[in-house]
């Protein structure tokens, strides 16, 4: 605070409060900036994006200048930072809106019942194609990833909270689980790939390999969220159960877990939502096929993200010159379906979380 010296010269009458801009100042400046930016835009024929950027810049310069005259340099800095942090928000929302709009705009025309119920396998060129095989692949691989990771994740969290509190092993597990959240998905994929080609031969491509890779990515998320939930279970509940002579393991199974169930389900759903869009590991180990494969233990399986990637990379030739190649259409349709799945999972997770929120208050 060494710079805090009275920056305003003391004028005629002594006032206890420093001069401030009127409350409506930011709004006024915003309107003026918008109008001022509209002038060159109208004359030079720029688009609305240029207008928004110009108006924002004018605002970010004008308001601090005004504040500098009235409030002094400290007030001006404060006004400028306020403007900058809100600008950061606006800038971050632009790509999200653009992305969602593009996906809906380009994906919606591709989606119909054929698209959702046909696979890419066809015996003659005129046959309709769809993404059914990729939907099934995504569903099964993610399901098996959950089957592998959920028990391990929940049991590990139980160990961390109920048994290992404060022990050296528990501290290491907590730390390494945190580190594990940062494992790149391609490394998880390479791990599953190395494991399976070592055990089953070099050309192995199998759905369960993808499940193993995804499980590796899911485990840390499940552990962290379950840990958080178990910590919220009040100790009074555990003690009441012990007082009735219930063994510790039955207390955990019958009292602690049911109390935390809503939160645990939320965590697992969010973990599934996180891995359902993973591409890189599945590209390596689950492979690509045009047929629908229901067996994760045998043969290649296409998943939705891999389908999007490969269709975009090899889009084929458009029926009419200059039109959209069929692969691009499929890729965007698949992207829309994938985003809808992920958003639905997030929505479900939040709803469950809200309904079963643990009652910690008294």
């Amino acid at each position: 605070m060494s710079t805090v010296t009275p920056t305003r010269p003391v004028t005629g009458s002594l006032s206890l409060t420093a001069a401030k801009l009127p409350r409506f100042a930011p709004v006024l400046v915003a309107v003026v900036a918008a109008a001022a930016a509209a002038l060159p835009v109208l004359f030079l024929g720029w688009g609305p994006i240029a207008w928004a950027i110009l108006a924002g810049l004018v605002f970010l310069v004008a308001l601090p200048l005004w504040a500098r005259v009235v409030e002094g340099s400290r007030g001006a800095t404060d006004r400028m930072v306020t403007g900058l942090v809100w600008a950061a928000c606006a800038i971050a929302i632009v790509p999200l809106l653009s992305l969602l709009w593009t996906v809906v705009d380009r994906g919606l025309p591709a989606i119909n019942t054929t698209f959702l119920t046909f696979s890419m396998y066809r015996t003659d060129l005129d046959q309709e194609v769809g993404i059914y095989h990729a939907l099934i692949g995504t569903l099964l691989i993610t399901l098996f990833a959950a089957i592998i990771s959920v028990p391990i994740g929940i049991m590990a969290a139980i160990y961390l909270i109920e048994y290992g509190k404060g022990s050296r092993l528990a501290r290491w597990i907590t730390f390494l689980v945190d580190v594990m959240t940062g494992i790149p998905s391609i490394v998880a994929g390479l791990f599953a790939f190395a494991l399976f080609i070592l055990v089953f031969g070099p050309s192995t491509r199998v759905g369960i390999g993808g499940s193993v890779a995804l499980a590796l990515l899911m485990i840390p998320i499940v552990v962290r969220s379950t840990e958080e939930m178990l910590r919220l279970v009040p100790d009074e509940l555990r003690e009441a159960s012990y007082a009735l002579g219930v063994p510790k393991w039955r207390t955990i199974v019958k009292v602690v877990l049911p109390t935390a169930l809503g939160g645990i389900v939320t965590g697992v759903t969010l973990a599934v939502a996180r891995v359902v869009g993973e591409t890189a590991p599945l590209l390596l180990i689950a492979g690509l096929t045009s047929r629908t494969n229901f067996n994760v233990f045998d043969g290649r399986m296409t998943t939705l993200p891999v389908l999007i990637f490969t269709q975009n990379a090899n889009p084929g030739i458009a029926e009419t010159p200059g039109g959209t190649p069929p692969g691009i259409e499929i890729a965007w349709g698949g992207a829309l379906v994938l985003i809808v799945i992920v958003m639905l999972l997030n929505l479900v997770a939040r709803t469950i979380g809200a309904i079963f929120a643990p009652k910690t208050g008294h």
Binding site: R74, T82, Y159, L169, L176, P184, F193, Y242, W332
Partner: protein
């Protein structure tokens, strides 16, 4: 807590089979996680170490493994650094809005929207990056080349498709924004209310309060948020693989199409044509990536833990 200890002691006095089995199961699951992490390293090493010393023809233009991986590592780091330079100020700004500037009923939706960004799959980001972002930025690259070509970053010639390392870095920036925002938001909002009010009571403006009360308190959290973002950006595969049209060696030129791929995107785009020998080379590069990201994450978490311990004291 004393009562819990008593309960544990009585349980120990009368050991029950169920208790023993359950606690061993729980401990086993914990150890299984450690084992899984070790297995990642071991299996990558088994398959990857032979890739370190192959005959020269496996490494394309380079003569040995390190000559092969160096440009890729450079590409990985360059893309990640671009992403950080763009994402970090934005993320801290958004985190400040959520924790200190916006009223609660505005802050909650903003936080939700940023979380939504984290939910978008990377392959969709890649698709959007090629189709929308690259095309929008391409005229900008031409302008940069013409007007700022004297800077080594914009030496040109400008890429005709816009699929440059700068575009890839920007897509990465959008992808790591949510994680940096989430962690920074968390540490900002943990600043003791009394510190903030004391600063305001001394006549600090809001920004001075944030600079003098919030930032010093949150410093270690902010650093680790950046490092976690860095770890994410280093390992991100699909967005780079789809957006960047790679080629050429180490170069600081951001707007032409002559930048090396990143390690992860190189694996994703080359594994298909790979012979077993070539695959071993790719897995070896994956091992390098694993070690780099592991170190970055390890350092980040270590800083967080140290910060937490300091606060607890």
């Amino acid at each position: 807590m004393a009562t819990t200890v008593v309960a544990e002691e009585t349980a120990r006095a009368k050991p029950r089979v169920g208790d023993l089995v359950f606690s061993r199961l729980a401990m086993g699951a914990g150890i299984a996680i450690l084992a899984a992490l070790a297995a990642v390293f071991i299996f990558l090493a088994i398959e990857g170490v032979p890739g370190l010393a192959k005959p020269a023809e496996f490494y394309g233009d380079a003569s040995n493994f390190w000559g092969y991986v160096a440009p890729l590592l450079f590409g990985t780091i360059l893309a990640a650094v671009i992403a950080l330079i763009v994402a970090v100020p934005l993320a801290w700004g958004i985190a400040l809005v959520v924790s200190h500037y916006a009223p609660k009923r505005v802050a909650t939706p903003i936080a939700y929207v940023i979380d939504l960004l984290a939910a978008v799959p990377s392959v969709v980001f890649g698709l959007w990056g090629i189709t929308v972002l690259a095309r929008q930025l391409q005229p900008g690259y031409v302008w940069l080349d013409e007007n700022m070509g004297w800077l080594p970053f914009f030496a040109g010639p400008a890429s005709g498709t816009g699929r440059t390392i700068l575009t890839a870095g920007l897509v990465l920036a959008i992808m790591i924004l949510p994680i940096i925002t989430a962690i920074s938001r968390e540490v900002f909002s943990q600043t003791p209310r009394l510190h903030e009010e004391a600063a305001l009571a001394l006549g600090a403006t809001r920004w001075e309060m944030i600079r003098m009360a919030v930032f010093p308190y949150a410093r270690s959290g902010m650093v680790s948020a950046v490092m976690l973002g860095l770890g994410r950006a280093l390992g991100e595969t699909m967005a780079v693989a789809m957006v960047l049209s790679a080629g050429g060696g180490i170069s600081l030129n951001l707007i032409s199409s002559s930048n090396p791929a990143s390690i992860a995107s190189n694996i994703a785009s080359n594994y298909k044509e790979g012979t077993p020998g070539k695959i071993q080379v790719l897995i070896a590069t994956g091992l390098v990536l694993f070690l780099v990201t592991f170190l970055v994450n390890f350092a980040a978490r270590w800083i967080v833990q140290r910060g937490e311990r300091r606060l607890a004291r």
